[in-house]
Amino acid sequence: MQIHKSKNKQDKKKKKVKEFINIGLAGNANVGKSVIFNQLTGLSQTIGNWPGKTVEKMEGHLNSLGYRFNIVDLPGIYSLSTYSLEEIISREYLVSEEVDVIINVIDATNLERNLFFTFQLLELKVPMILAINQMDILRKRNLKLNFERLEEIFKLPVIPVVAVHGTGVYQLLEKAIELVVYHQPTSHYIQDGKKIHEQLSNNDKKVNNDLSIKERFHFPDLSSILKYGKEVETRIYELIKNIDIHLEYFSTFNYPSRFLAIKILENDEEIEKIFKANQKTIYIINLAENYRNELEELHGEDISTIISSEIYTNIHKIIEKVVIVKARGEKKLVWAEKLDHLTTHSFWGYIILILILAGIYFFTFLIGGFFGGLIEDFFEVLSNIIYSIYGEDDLWVKIFWEGGLGGFFGGLSGVLVYVIPFFLIIEFLQDSGYLPRAAYLMDRFMHSLGVHGKTIIPMILGFGCNVPACTGCRIMETEREKKISIALTSSIPCAAVMTVVLGLVGRYVGITWVLILFAINFIVIIITGKILNKILPGQCTELIMEVHQYRIPNYSVILKQTWIRTKEFIFKALPIIIITGFLLEIFFIFRLLDPINFILSPVTYYWLGLPAITGIFLIYGILRKELTLVLLAVLANSMGTTLVGLLNPLQMIIFSLVTMLYIPCFATIVLIAKETNWKYALQIAGLEIGIALLIGGILNWGLFFIFY
């Protein structure tokens, strides 16, 4: 009986797995994809990486209408070519077995450009739903869309959506089920959505997902809208014919023959590799090249321009049929325009940029400091209780309480409380649309460092914490720019560094020296950029970036994103902090670090003019930079003096400077290694140590004469 029951349970479980519907959310950047993703998946989201790639993969799931949905939010892209890694990953993923249905999110206020991407997706012949988002804004602009017409044209479900209000979002899932169950699209104007909904929930025989849905799906014939001009079309036809001869080989790559034909004609590097890999298909590359030359001569344009033009012509015809301008004509958002003007102004733009940078820092610091203080007080109260029970000098208390739990509370009060407000403000800036404006303002300057303006985005993030900021360098298009961006970003003084500089130099020496230290830091960043720009092979690419209109940020997206990133931090970074805290406490108790002080003394004592004990502190600082100051204070306390008694002003300046520059923190180094490789991470660390020691030494010997 018992056995039978559990078997039954297992069967049920098995059945459930088959009821998965995998959805890929695809669309341009800033079309509300992430809002829809959030509405559907809530807090079940996880951030991972695409296997072997450094592009973020957002995944979430939900149960609805008796089905389990697995939803992947693809990166926001404009085309399925090879411009960036994100484009290549997206197209490979969309044709893979993992995707059953694509939901293409389209910005209604920007149909023409969005449909360009839709047209590329349609060539993949994957079951697809068109979600036309921002319908509310379209209405405000006195525009209307004819959805019946749209469905007639695309022969696929087209759903109006207002993602911020959740309107139409669940209808997307109903349509996805329909596509999967019926293996063909059904217009929701013909069939009542509610009826299908009931029918589906009553239907016991659910879809059997063993067989690929894509294979069984009757993709509608869209040749009338996807068709290019005659010259291009006849050549594509010839290429398809040749591809189909080797269909057995090509079918392993999942791309439809027509997609392969278009891409090989377009000289797509990645697709060319497929043709090159097989001796029998290499000749098609030459054939395509001949066709390409013929077409380019015929049109006097290069192939990508020809094909893009033809797609845009086709789109234009559709737009004329479906967009209805109401009598009063188009309206524009006045406040958004004014804010845009102000934030990109040749004077006020820079002032605002500086204010925002200061704002990030103060917000992070004030909120983090407040809650960090509370947690530390709490830990102290707990410590006193523990000490009163077990005694302060008990070895086990030291290792487990001060090391293990101390590390945990240190992680909470020293890092987590800063990470949360920082993520909040960053998500706010991201969602409102400010960051591209900063890139626009700084493009010219960043070019002198070998990268284009977009690098300023991860650099701004760096003011809070270098770790997520270095991850943000993924937005750079080429490997070279990513490397330079990472080097620059990792040198930005983060909140922890600010704590040290303000707590030591700001408090005891004066604000002038704080500013001088920051100036030195920025000069170092500029020099680093200039050096890397010279050393690394290749050239700086030009900025091409869409600037979206300002919008009121969606608080639920901001909160959820913040939570997800925080969750990731808790699970991935906090354990490392706790374990190292644990180990360091053991080292400390058994005085394993004393030889290090001795070894480092030529550098710390003689070259930098610091007390030898600071050697250990600088080692600790690699873990978390604010530890250098915390440990100094602890030491001063135990010696019955204050920081002033421990270090003279000159030493404070040098100590802060070295802390600021000497190395990216441990977590950052690990991340750099993950994003690039260990060799590069260690090179950056080495370079920064060198620079810090050089400047620190020069300052020490130079200032010696000023102060004395």
Binding site: E301, T305, T344, D443, G453, L543, I544, M545, V547, Q549
Partner: protein, 82 residues
Amino acid sequence: MESLIKCLIDCLIGEKLKVLRVNAGYHAKRRLANLGIIPGVQIIKKKAAPFRGPIEVIVKGTSLVIGRGLAARIVVLSDNSK
């Protein structure tokens, strides 16, 4: 009644322009074409960043920022007939 062929950086702010050619490399050209910068298309130069920075244009209803070096290679026809 004056029609002039210029490059994008030499145009005035607010000028309505027609793209004639993009003399850029393969990648940049394809990217621009995908985003709608193709010969014959109408664009408006919205603004230019200070200190010889990038150019912002409106194309097909969206704002696009293009690095100055690339903008210099976009040849446009400025139509001042009105």
